[in-house]
Amino acid sequence: MNFNSASYLLFLFTAAVLNRLLPKYNKIFILLCSLFFLGLLSWHVIAVALFLTWLNFLFCSRLLLSSSRHSIEYPLFITFNVLVLLFSNYIIDVQWLNLHTSIRWMTIGTSKWVGIFGISYYQLQNIANLIDARKKILQKPAAIDFFLHNLFFARFVVGPITPFRLWGKNFISVSKPINQIDIAIGTQRIMIGFLKKVVLADRIGLSTNIIFNDLYSYSGIEYLAGGLLFTLQLYFDFSGLCDIAVGSARLFGIELKENFNLPLRADSIAEFWRRWHITLMNFLNQYVFTPLAYRFRRMRKQGIVIAIWIVFAISAVWHGISYTFFIWAFLHAFYLTVETFSKQQRMNWKKKIRYKKVYHILCVAVTLCAVCFSNIFFAIPTDKVFHYILKSFSSITQFTPGSFRLFLGGVARNADDHGIFTFIITIILTLVFILVEKKIYIFINLGKFSVVLMFLILLLIFTFGIIGDSGSFLYTRF
């Protein structure tokens, strides 16, 4: 059951209404709903999720009771979870390696459901809980709370990653009657998520799919435009998914952490990573970067840079088995290295410069270009990556103003009127949304409800949304 399906909405609103009718048994009811949701993916998922959750509950309890800091249990538990993560994350890709028939048979049979544990952020959360338990910053959890936190349907597949210790408030609020603010925020966030997915991401996807699946037909400038479009698509797709998750949780009185904070307006790569996939970056920052930076503290800036490179190498491994992810990670690590060493210089410029707004806009543009370039490596098929690089740079100068219609046609799939109409509408909708996005979020998060806003969103979804051909969410690929 996809988040962007009518069946999910039906499931969600039925569950939310029933949850309201059963005030004494909220936790058990939500847990049962979560198991039902997982069961729709596959019954294997229920079995494995319950087993892993139970195992991690035991691990955490054991670590909380243990007084020795040098016990062998801690590395064993961590290793176990890392192995589960790697196994589940890579098993889909193993088919690609064309391994022995018996192994391929196993992967074909299991990849559909095993992969869920690799993309679900579920294991990262378990690892975070174990680290917290070892540091004794985790209070001994009640079993029902631990299971509810680990298996809650709205965040099981997509996150956001939230360690158990940060969920304390939700265990209390989930038992309280849901209030008007929760309903207003929940429904509007879900609608915004749908808008981002079916109107913006999927429409942009019409162009990016064509460009990146048909490399031989397009020139370098179109690839670069494709990189920009793919970044927008990825943002709307993933943040739309997170909006639906946040909104769904809110209908049960649960507040999930935000994963995005207007990342397209970041004026540096460091700032970008504070705004994009926030919970993953918080996880990596807290459990990998900070300990490493502390360990390398005597090396000063070089130490920070080493920590950055290790963090992005881990991020690349987490995203999948393709070397394109390493190129992407390399680029970001490189960007951050440059930023680290030029920080003082940039601050001096900023002080001296007269038109601060212009400087800020320039920084946002440069950051966006750098991000778009790196995201191209997310978009293009692995076997065509070098073909792309060579062609994009060799043909970038072929673009002339006279070929504008062809260029537009290329990005818009076809140079016919329909293709251009579709593309122009997509660009207008995207630009308007980016301009008003901040105001919409401020309005919604205040708990206000606007009939006009909801009406407009519904109208856009029904008249411009890709409903019939809406694909699965992009981030479930990684």
Binding site: Y218, F421, F449, V451, T463
Partner: protein, 316 residues
């Protein structure tokens, strides 16, 4: 609760809007004279010959040239990416609103019998949802769409990428009072492919391995439906194989087996099968957009060839 009242108000308002939108889109799309299906009730013209198929026919047969040779009044009732379910439904709707032609030339080749290349484009028939034959065919080919189409406006919203464009075009034609389609005979010359890509480079990029064609049962079923419809309405069907670029033949692994099948199918139904696969123009890449579709120059040459062939073999 105030918020819940507001949510209910939004839902009610929007439900009413959907009913209005459904009516509005129907009016606008009907006025889009370039929408082949929507324009059928307005055609009101007796065509003696109709050409049907996918893009090979839409872009490969120029009726003006054939008509100038034979004195026919012919029409290309084809759109790209159409499989036989799509073709059957288009023929059915054409016959629903217009008098039957005397002759139907239907493109049939290994590529079109395979389910891989073409598809059923449900959005084209949105405006005719409600007709029992349309509903049946849509159910067989795109069941989720038919289920959703019971909700007001969903028949357009489901594939809004196409229907909104068609409605906007209708609005434009109302504003400009345009009532005749851009292509009166249905022929659409192939667009200038990006960078004038020729069949050879297309093959280099796409035909990495040989293609083994499979006969799709569903395609065969709708082919049968088309033949039956022709019989019911006294239309003489002729099966044709449009030209294929010779350079791509080595990749069409089992094409002879499929062509043999088509020949025996045609013989068993007493339908002529004209194979233009390897006529002289098929040796030159410059007449092709892709291995199976002609460019505008190739279409004119093939139309002349077909026109002469019709002249020699058919008397209407």
């Amino acid at each position: 609760m105030k918020i819940i009242r507001k949510i209910i108000l939004t839902i009610c308002l929007f439900a009413a809007t959907l009913l209005l939108l459904d009516k509005l889109y129907t009016i606008l799309i009907r006025r889009n004279c370039n929408d082949m299906i929507a324009n059928m009730p307005e055609m009101k013209k007796q065509f003696s010959v109709i050409y049907m198929g996918a893009c090979q026919v839409q872009q490969g047969i120029n009726p003006a040239i054939i008509d100038s040779i034979n004195g026919f009044s012919s029409y290309v009732l084809s759109e790209n990416h159409s499989n036989y379910a799509d073709i059957f439904l288009r023929l059915y709707l054409y016959l629903k609103y217009n008098p039957p032609p005397k002759l139907l030339l239907l493109d049939l080749m290994p590529e079109t019998l395979d389910a891989f290349d073409n598809k059923f484009c449900t959005y084209r028939f949105a405006i005719e949802i409600g007709d029992s034959v349309v509903n049946k065919t849509v159910r067989e080919n795109d069941a989720p769409y038919l289920n959703y189409s019971k909700i007001p406006f969903m028949r357009y919203a489901y594939y809004s990428e196409y229907s909104t464009y068609s409605a906007v075009k209708g609005l434009q034609y109302i504003a400009t009072n345009k009532k005749t389609p851009t292509r009166k005979d249905g022929y659409v010359p192939a667009p200038l492919w990006r960078g004038q890509l020729l069949a050879d480079s297309f093959i280099n990029e796409n035909y990495k391995t040989s293609i083994t064609f499979k006969i799709d049962k569903k395609q065969l079923h709708y082919l049968e439906e088309i033949v039956n419809l022709c019989k019911q309405r006294n239309i003489k069907p002729i099966l044709i194989h449009t030209p294929i670029y010779n350079g791509s033949q080595i990749f069409r692994k089992n094409k002879d087996v499929i062509i043999q099948f088509i020949s025996s199918y045609a013989a068993s139904h007493d339908i002529p099968f004209w194979n233009f696969e390897t006529i002289p123009l098929s040796e030159h890449a410059r007449y092709f957009n892709a291995p199976v579709s002609l460019n505008a120059e190739g279409a004119d040459m093939f139309s002349y060839y077909l026109g002469r062939y019709l002249f020699q073999n058919i008397k209407l």
